[in-house]
């Protein structure tokens, strides 16, 4: 009894909300910037430099993950020949690198421009090697286009890196300090990984928007990536509507595979977030350790200076030197912690959100199919009623409508099956990539740990005779 009440009130609430949201959508679709509900976002060439990264209330553009290439080397990718031809692995490849961040303009209107270099032997590209300049919003624009084209088909579209007000403001203001340099490097690396993951996807690689992004020297400004633009608000509204819908759609899952996979991704999400938090904490503590070791080294050197026993004084100075080298070691290790593991985990947390989004799309497709069936049923009932009432022209109309809805039901079923098939394939590909990514990164990370220990051994072995020499 109680359950029914809840569902009714929830349904009531959601329908009210839905009405409100549709009204908002209609209102916004009349604004000049948003041409249609799917929010395509090309506007004619810019009128001067615009603000990058303004307030973004919904920062996370969700999406997929890239193989964890952390160092500024370009990544080699071997995409599959086509979506259904997993067996044909042509050995063609593509290298993409994002480099040379440059600040353009100054003050609050400044932005960073990155050089994107593509080296490839693929025929779909017009040249072997292309260099273009892109800014951050261009990347967001690319993701936005790809998401609107492919997500509803069940493709896992890799998400672009997140916006960051704090980071960008520091860069704009022109602080040349360590944190803004680190921020730019972090972003550069993230953008590179994003592009690599995108072209790894066989369908996305061939997409004209991707090609245009990588090749054409002039790219129309993606203005609707800004949060407070009409398109931005539309995005917010859509997200809210989706969340509401998710609450109300109760799907009858006939395929156990989907249920199992969804649960697995749910669990994976929880654990990866936990792991990410722990690794971020480790990065922070290691940085702290490095700073504290450096300050201890200084104090040990001072102590050595004031010590009046010569051999001991020398040994203390040596200790100070060892500690200084160790502090550098800790710092390097913390960079490895960060760029190898932490960023990978962050990417995967966002990717899993994209995967979950794709499952949600399937649910939407199912709901659409079910709604069409309900509609068809209603039309049939209406037709049956009209048959008794004996109104021949309305009857004709009713029959036509029945045919129309039968078509829609069939289409709904086909779409649903197609998206289910796509998702199965995508998830398979995703899992393969995930296994590879994690393996590669973890092995690299362990190797960095090995290096640190080897260095430590070297330093302490050099110190030991000095300590023993104290007489």
């Amino acid at each position: 009894m109680h359950e029914c009440k809840c569902k009714r009130s929830l349904a009531g609430f959601s329908s009210v909300l839905f009405v409100v949201l549709s009204l908002v959508k209609v209102f916004l679709s009349q604004s000049p910037e948003a041409a249609c509900l799917s929010a395509e976002d090309i506007s004619p060439s810019s009128n001067g430099p615009r603000d990058d990264d303004p307030d973004d209330l919904f920062a996370g553009v969700d999406g997929g993950s890239v193989s964890g290439q952390s160092r500024p080397q370009s990544g080699r990718v071997r995409p599959l020949a086509g979506p259904d031809e997993e067996e044909n692995r042509d050995t063609f490849d593509i290298q993409i690198s994002v480099s040379d961040p440059e600040k353009v303009g100054d003050g609050m209107n400044a932005y960073m421009v990155y050089k994107v270099t593509t080296k490839t032997s693929l025929s779909i590209f017009s040249r072997d090697e292309v260099c273009v300049k892109r800014r951050f919003s261009d990347f967001l624009g690319l993701y936005s286009k790809l998401a609107s084209k492919y997500m509803h088909m069940g493709y896992i579209v890799p998400p672009a890196p997140e916006k960051s007000i704090v980071g960008m403001t520091k860069v704009k203001v022109g602080k040349e300090d360590l944190s803004s340099v680190e921020f730019v490097e972090k972003r550069r690396s993230a953008l590179e990984r994003y592009l690599l993951r995108t072209v790894k996807h066989p369908a996305l690689l061939k997409d004209p928007d991707v090609l245009q992004f990588l090749e054409s020297s002039e790219l129309p400004r993606a203005v609707s990536t800004q949060a407070l633009s009409g398109a931005g608000i539309l995005r917010m509204v859509n997200k809210a509507a989706d969340a509401v819908n998710k609450m109300t759609i109760k799907m009858n899952e006939s395929d156990a595979w989907f249920e199992e996979k969804q649960q697995q991704f749910e669990n994976l999400d929880v654990q990866l977030r936990k792991l990410h938090a722990s690794v971020e904490s480790l990065v922070c503590h290691r940085k702290e350790l490095s700073v504290n070791t450096a300050s201890f080294a200084k104090s040990a050197a001072m102590l050595g200076n004031s010590e009046d026993h010569t051999a001991l004084s020398r040994a203390l100075s040596q200790l100070a030197e060892v500690e200084e080298k160790i502090d550098q070691l800790h710092q390097d290790q913390s960079y490895a912690d960060f760029y190898l593991i932490s960023e990978l985990l962050g990417d995967y947390v966002r990717l899993i959100t994209a995967v979950k989004g794709v499952f949600d799309q399937r649910m939407k497709a199912w709901a659409k199919w079910q709604d069409a069936q309900v509609m068809l049923q209603r039309k049939r009932e209406a037709e049956a009623k009209l048959q008794y009432a004996n109104k021949p022209d309305k009857l004709q109309q009713a029959t036509d409508e029945i045919r129309e809805w039968e078509g829609k039901v069939q289409q709904g079923e086909r779409d649903f099956e197609q998206i289910s098939k796509n998702i199965r394939r995508e998830v398979g590909r995703f899992e393969k990539d995930r296994v590879k990514d994690f393996r590669v990164v973890i092995i690299k990370y362990l190797e960095s740990l090995v290096h640190t220990q080897q260095q430590l051994i070297k330093y302490w072995e050099a110190f030991l005779p000095e300590a023993k020499a104290i007489a």
């Binding site: 504290n292 009046d308 040994a315 362990l446 220990q453 051994i457 104290i470």
Partner: protein, 413 residues
């Protein structure tokens, strides 16, 4: 000499943990002391109860002043402090470096953590709880061992000192097998102490300003002042460093647990991978924690100890300086008395007393300061060598674990 400890944590009436550990050779705090058969003192056992620690002081002696050759008594921290203070207040010992008093056993932080863990028991899994409990117990144990070592070092130093070892209070401390009825200082007494210290430091500055004729002492004065400050700084910085190290080790612990969960849940080939890496991190974390603990023992404790010892040496110099000023004042008074020809005898006696006092202090002080340097150099040498050896041992252990795990993981692909 082996020590066994019984650590009992009592929370209300329920016992949280009971542990019995035996320790290797005593004096974790390596102070180089002559092992003299005539008087050997150590702490053979210790018990940690709610808010106090009971040390079992064990003595072996061939000296005639004791009734038996071997005996034990139970002492608490306040009784150690009483003994130390009795040395400081004794005028006879003004010319010696009084071994610094051991610091008060401080389990507050650890106890708080244990309590918080008990309260949060419901919110974590059984394995996590057991793991954290074990770690906290290990931490408690480490602090416990340290405080025992500090108290033992104090007694050993007294026993090794040619003059202090004969002190009557010391013998009572060692032998009297009932409570010494020494209470901690009450508020009034502590306030008095505080003011005394203020006066003393003001006086100390005054006295230090007087230039010493003797080069040796002048040099020692400047040296000790600077050294003491630098040791203080180094000690604080090393504590911070070690704390960061412990924090990093804790993070690795959490990472290991999460990897384990991931390993058990994952449906792909990664599950074995994660499990292996989780196992590796569990082991390396233990090593990292040991590294932090050993650094604490060999470096941080060393610096803390010499902070206290250098203060004791400074105190000695102060007392000598004070005696010198008194002597010079007495000389001036004598001259004045002779000039006025009034109370000359009294002035002469005062002057003689001051002179004797000053010379006695100077003589023993010189030797004490030389001994201090020898002890210091030996202590640093021993500890730095041991530190380097331990760091090497742990780094090699870590390396081996990492390399063997890498070998397995690479072989799998």
């Amino acid at each position: 000499m082996k020590q066994t400890f019984c650590v009992i944590f009592k929370k209300e009436s329920s016992i949280i943990a009971v542990d019995s550990i035996s320790c290797g050779p005593h004096c974790l705090m390596n102070v180089d002391l002559q092992t003299d058969a005539t008087l050997q003192v150590d702490i053979s056992d210790a018990l940690s109860e709610r808010d106090k620690v009971k040390f079992t002081v064990h003595t072996k002696s061939t000296l005639p002043n004791f009734k038996q050759n071997e005996f034990s008594v139970v002492r608490q921290h306040e009784e150690f402090i009483w003994l130390h203070d009795s040395f400081v207040e004794n005028e006879e010992y003004a010319g010696y470096i009084i071994p610094p008093a051991p610091p008060r056993p401080d389990f507050d932080a650890s106890r708080e953590k244990l309590q918080k863990l008990g309260e949060g028991e419901g919110s974590m899994t059984k394995e996590e709880f057991t793991k954290m409990k074990q770690e906290l117990e290990a931490e408690y144990l480490a602090i416990f061992k340290k405080t025992v070592a500090m108290h033992e070092v104090f007694l050993c130093r007294v026993a090794a000192h040619p003059v202090l070892r004969k002190d009557l209070n010391f013998h009572v401390f060692l032998e009297y097998n009932q409570d010494l009825s020494v209470r901690g200082k009450n508020k009034k007494e502590r306030l008095e102490d505080f003011f005394k210290n203020v006066v003393k430091s003001a006086d100390g500055v005054l006295v230090a300003g007087v230039k010493d004729v003797d080069d040796f002492f002048e040099h020692e004065k400047t040296f000790l002042l600077e050294y003491h400050n630098r040791v203080k700084e180094a000690s604080a910085k090393s504590d911070r460093k070690i704390r960061s190290h412990k924090n990093a080790a804790d993070d690795i612990n959490r990472i290991a647990s999460t990897l384990y969960t991931l390993g058990t849940q994952d449906s792909t080939d990664l599950c074995k991978f994660f499990l292996k890496v989780s196992e590796l991190f569990e082991k390396t974390r233990k090593i990292e924690a040991r590294v932090a603990a050993d650094e604490d023992l060999k470096l941080a404790d060393l610096l803390k100890y010499y902070l206290r010892e250098s203060q004791a040496a400074k105190d000695l110099l102060y007392r000598r300086g004070r005696a010198l000023v008194d002597y010079e004042n007495a000389n001036k008074a004598l001259d004045k008395a002779r000039a006025k020809n009034k109370d000359v005898l009294q002035a002469e006696t005062t002057q003689q007393v001051c002179c004797q006092k000053f010379e006695k202090i100077s003589e023993s002080a010189k030797q004490e300061l030389i001994d201090f340097k020898t002890r210091r150099v030996a202590a640093f040498r021993k500890n730095l060598v041991e530190l380097a050896e331990l760091e090497l041992k742990h780094a090699k252990g870590n390396l081996q674990l990492l390399q063997s795990c890498l070998g397995v993981l690479k072989g799998d692909t």
